[in-house]
């Protein structure tokens, strides 16, 4: 298949568990990139630390596997120094929103042209199943053996409030929607956030009796709904899928180019 062009085949089979949703996200992402027809040399993938962030080793782009929570800071440096590059930043829920929360907020605030993909499996998988900020009240994890008392928050609302100009959510069940959303997120000139609900059957699934990968994907189908649907009105607990925000605002690098013009003009006149 065409997407095999975009992987580093010599490192497969990859390290993700059987049924891990991250593999499906990678699958959809590569299809989205294939449909865009970009040169592989134009694409830089910057990831953090965690199961999701291992994706960067498997794809045939310029890849930067950084430190826990800081992928967006590194990506900002890459993008600002060479704005022609296309930056994709896959991160886990803990990586992006716990330790990386601050960088997430400010990358959104700057509206710098990066595509952040929050692969939300509601757990810290790589380290063996500790709770994350998105695990949710009442769930079980290795560091919440008596149930989790931490409330979670809404990634979409956080991204929106921080200033992201493309905000969307999908799941590993809805692969066709996911590929389409990822394509639009990448094309969008500004800070894009795509939250993907993805299953960790090995830890979150087992600890919380959610079944296997198939069961977890079925529940993504059952418990989510398109934005503003009738089902949502009837059942507010359903999680909405789709594109929440899509607007054009000044992008950071092009704004800085104007600063350079200003500075050069002033300097040559003095």
């Amino acid at each position: 298949m065409a997407i095999k062009d975009y992987i580093r085949e010599r490192f497969f089979p990859h390290i993700w568990c059987p049924g891990c949703g991250h593999g499906t996200v990678m699958n959809s992402l590569l299809r989205a990139l294939d449909s865009l027809g970009m040169s592989k040399n134009e694409i830089v993938m910057v990831s953090g630390i965690g199961c999701s962030s291992r994706i960067s080793g498997y794809v045939d782009f310029h890849t930067l596997h950084t430190i826990h929570g800081r992928a967006l800071a590194f990506a900002t440096g890459v993008k600002l120094s060479l704005p022609e590059l296309n930056l994709i930043v896959p991160m886990g829920d803990g990586d992006a929103l716990a330790i990386g929360g601050n960088h997430f907020i400010h990358a959104a605030r700057r509206n710098i042209d990066l595509t952040a993909i929050v692969m939300n499996n509601r757990i810290y998988g790589m380290t063996g199943g500790q709770y994350s900020p998105l695990s949710g009240y009442g769930t079980l994890a290795t560091t919440a053996p008596y149930t989790n008392i931490d409330q979670s928050f809404d990634t979409v609302k956080l991204a929106t409030a921080a200033g992201a100009t493309f905000v969307a959510r999908s799941t590993t069940y809805h692969v066709q929607q996911l590929a389409k959303i990822l394509k639009q997120a990448i094309l969008h000139e500004g800070f894009s956030v795509v939250e993907v609900l993805t299953q960790c059957p090995t830890y979150f699934g087992r600890k919380n009796r959610e079944g296997n990968a198939v069961d977890m994907m079925e529940s993504y189908n059952k418990n989510t709904t398109p934005i503003g649907s009738k089902a949502k009105k009837e059942n507010p607990d359903l999680i909405e899928r789709g594109i929440f925000i899509q607007k054009e605002m000044p992008e950071y690098c092009s704004e800085y180019d104007k600063i350079i013009e200003k500075a050069m003009a002033k300097y040559s006149n003095s």
């Binding site: 059987p18 049924g19 991250h22 593999g23 499906t24 699958n27 692969v175 066709q176 990968a213």
Partner: protein, 71 residues
């Protein structure tokens, strides 16, 4: 657009981890897991080439080749 005609189910047993996602979500029940937990096309003639297995596979281990793909 012409209905896609199946040419082959291309399965990579080294990459397949037997998670069962493709088997469960196949709308026509074409796939099964073998005794060694690898996917195989048990009823290939029922395949409608929807490619949902290919799209969902976390391991890129299954590919649906159609006549149209060749063109």
């Amino acid at each position: 657009m012409a209905k896609p005609k199946l040419k082959a189910h291309l399965i990579n047993p080294e990459w397949c981890k037997g998670c069962g996602i493709c088997v469960h979500f196949c709308p026509k029940n074409v796939l099964e897991l073998s005794d060694s937990d690898k996917v195989l096309p048990a009823r290939p003639t029922d395949c409608i080439c929807c490619k949902l297995c290919e799209l969902r596979c976390p391991d890129l281990a299954i590919e649906i080749e159609t006549e149209q793909d060749e063109q």
